[in-house]
Amino acid sequence: MAGVATLREPKAEPRAAQAGTAGRLGPKVRRNLSAHGFLIGAVLCFTFFSWYPIVREVIMSFQKAVVGGGYAWAGWTNYVRIFRDPTFWLAWRNTLEFTVLALVVGYAVPFFVALLLNELRHARGYLRILVYLPVMLPPASALLLFAYFYNPQYGLFDDILRLVHLPTSQWVFQPGSGFISVAMVSVVIASTWMNMGAATLIYLAALQNIPGELYEAAELDGAGLWRRIRHVTIPQTRLILLMLLMLQIVATMQMFVESFVLTNGGGGVGDNTLSVVMLIYQYAFALSGASNYNSASALGVMLMLVLAVFSFGFLWATRERASQA
C-alpha cells in the first residue's frame, strides 16, 4: 500500500504546481493520496465481499438464470415462488420459535448466572473459565457431542431418563411441530450450552462496574434483595442488557450450524428445526439439480430486511434510554 502511495506522489506534484499554490496544495494532495493508499486494501475487500454482495443480492433476487448462461430480468417471480413454498413459512416459524426459546433460556440464564458469580467470594475464576470454555470449542465438536447425547438408540440423555424411569425422547428427531417442540428445545439447549459464556462474562463485567455505594444506599433505605436488583442492578446495566438483547435476537435469527449439525444437514423430522438460513442454503446449494441462487437471494433479501428493520427499530425505540445511560 505504501508502494502505491509513493508511486503516485510524483504525479500529484506537477498538478499542484500548475495551480500555483504548490506550498499549500501539494502536501495536501500528497497526504490524501498516501492516506487513501493505506485505505485501499480494506476498501477493496469491503467492496468485493460486503458492499457489492449487498447490492448484488437485491439484483439477483429479481433475476432468473437463462439457458446458455447469464441472467434475465424476472420481476417478482422468485418472491412469488418462495411465497408459495410451504417450507418457506415453516422456516420462518421455526426461526421465530428458536429465537423466542433462545431468548427465554439464553438471555435470562446468563444474566442470573452473572449475578450469582458476582456475589461469590470464592472460586469465581474457576467458574468463569467453566462458563466460557464451551464458547471456545469448534461448533462441530460441541454439536457432534450433543448429537451423540441426543441419539435415540444409545444417547446419554435417554439413558438418564431410563435410569429414573421416565419415558424416553427422540430429542432433535422428535416429530411434532407445536410452537414449543421437543426438537427445537433440544437445539436451543445445545445452542445455549455452547454460547452462553460470552453473554455471561459481558454481564459480569457490567455488574462489576456498578458503584458499591448505590447498593449501600439502597440497603440503608431498607431495600431488600429483590428491590436492590430491580432498582439498582437492572437500571445500572440497562444499556448492556438492551445491547445484548438486540445482538442476541439478530444472532439467533441467523441460526444455522446448530440445527444443521444436530440433524445431519437435514432439518429434523418434517423440517421442524429447519431455519431460514438453512433454507437459503438448501435453495442455493442443496436441492439436487435445481440449485437456484435467485430464489435463495430473494429469501436472503427478506431476512436482510427483517434484521435491518428490527435493528433500526430497536435502536430507535431505545435511543433515549441509551443516551441517558
Binding site: M1, A2, A35, G37, L39, G41, A42, V43, C45, F46, F48, F49, Y52, P53, I54, R56, E57, M60, L115, E119, L120, R121, A123, L127, I129, L130, Y132, L133, P134, M136, P138, A140, S141, L144, L145, Y148, Q153, Y154, R162, W193, L201, A206, L207, Y215, E216, V232, A251, Q254, F256, V257, N264, V277, I280, Y281, A284, F285, S297, M304, L307, A308
Partner: protein, 293 residues
C-alpha cells in the same frame, strides 16, 4: 477488599448468611462443573471406548476397557493432521490479512483523515447491520468469479482470507484506539521527517499492542469456529482443503460413533489449550467491544 456488590460481605459472613453462602457456593461449584465439564468429560473419555462400549446401554461412566486405538484410528481415517493444518493456515493467513489491511485502514481513517474518510467509515460501520450469513449466496457467487478480474477463488485459501478483512468491528475497535493516541506524538515525529508508514510502525503500533492483541485473538477464533462459509468455499476437497470444523462434520457419515467422538475431542484440544493460555486476554477482550464506553 473487593467492592461492595448486591449483598454485602458483612451479611455473608454472619450467622444464617454464612450458611446460605456456603450452600450456594457448593451448589454453584458442583452444578457448573456438572453442566460444563460433564459433557466435556464424555467428549474425551468416550473416544477411549471401543465402538461397542461407546453405544452400550446403560452407558459406562468411564471406559472399562481403555482403547486408545480409537484416537489413532480417527486421526488416520479423518486425516486430522491435514484438517488441523488447513485450519491453522486459514486462521493465521486471515489474521495476517486482517492486521495488514484493517490496521492500515484504521490508521488512515483515524490519523491521516483522507477526503471522504468519514463516508467510507460510515459505509463500513453500516455493514455491521447486515450480518454476513444473510449474504452467503451473493458472496459465494462473487468469490466464484471476482468482478473485473474474473478470478475464481473457490477452493483457495484466499476465499477465506480476503472476506475476513471486511470486518467493520475490527476497523471500529482499532480506529477508536488510534483516536485516543495524542496527536502531539505523531506531530513530533512528522516534524522530524517520519513518513506515515514510519509513524505507524514506530509509534502507533507499539502503543496499540493491547487492542491488536484483542483483534488478533478474536480474528483467529472467528475463522477457526466458522462453519457455513468454509463449508461453501472449501468443501468437497476431502480432506485436503477443508477446515477441521467442517472436516469432522462431513466425516460423520458412516464413521463409528466412538471415532466421531475421538475426532471431536481432538478438534477441541487446540482451542481449549489456546483458551487456557490466553484466557485473561480473551475474557478481558470481550468487553473491549465498547459495550461499556
Amino acid at each position: 477488599m473487593t467492592t461492595r456488590t448486591l449483598i454485602s460481605s458483612a451479611t455473608l459472613n454472619r450467622g444464617r448468611g454464612k450458611v446460605v453462602y456456603r450452600v450456594v457456593l457448593t451448589l454453584a461449584i458442583v452444578g457448573f462443573t456438572l453442566v460444563f465439564i460433564g459433557p466435556m468429560y464424555f467428549l474425551f473419555t468416550d473416544g477411549l471406548k471401543s465402538t461397542h462400549e461407546a453405544i452400550a446401554t446403560p452407558p459406562t461412566l468411564y471406559p472399562h476397557h481403555v482403547y486408545p486405538g480409537s484416537y489413532a484410528q480417527a486421526f488416520d481415517r479423518l486425516d486430522i493432521a491435514r484438517l488441523l493444518w488447513n485450519s491453522v493456515y486459514y486462521a493465521f493467513g486471515a489474521l495476517a490479512f486482517q492486521l495488514t489491511f484493517d490496521v492500515a485502514a484504521a490508521y488512515s481513517l483515524s490519523k491521516l483523515r483522507p477526503v471522504f474518510g468519514n463516508v467510507i467509515f460510515f459505509l463500513m460501520l453500516a455493514t455491521l447491520m447486515i450480518p454476513t450469513t444473510v449474504l452467503v449466496v451473493p458472496q459465494y457467487v462473487t468469490v466464484a468469479s471476482l468482478p473485473i478480474v474474473h478470478l475464481n477463488l473457490i477452493g483457495t485459501p484466499e476465499a477465506i482470507w480476503l472476506p475476513s478483512v471486511a470486518n467493520a468491528f475490527n476497523i471500529f475497535l482499532l480506529k477508536r484506539f488510534f483516536d485516543s493516541i495524542p496527536a502531539d506524538y505523531l506531530d513530533a515525529a512528522q516534524i522530524d521527517g517520519a513518513s506515515p508508514l514510519r509513524i505507524l510502525r514506530s509509534i502507533v503500533l507499539p502503543i496499540s499492542r493491547p487492542i491488536i492483541g484483542v483483534v488478533s485473538i478474536f480474528g483467529l477464533v472467528a475463522v477457526w469456529k466458522d462453519f457455513l462459509w468454509p463449508l461453501l468455499v472449501e468443501y468437497g476437497y476431502t480432506p485436503t482443503r477443508e477446515t477441521l470444523n467442517v472436516g469432522i462434520w462431513q466425516a460423520t457419515y458412516g464413521t463409528p460413533q466412538n471415532l466421531i467422538i475421538a475426532a471431536s475431542a481432538m478438534a477441541a484440544v487446540p482451542t481449549i489449550v489456546f483458551f487456557l493460555f490466553f484466557q485473561r486476554n480473551i475474557m478481558g477482550g470481550l468487553t473491549a467491544g465498547g459495550l461499556r464506553g
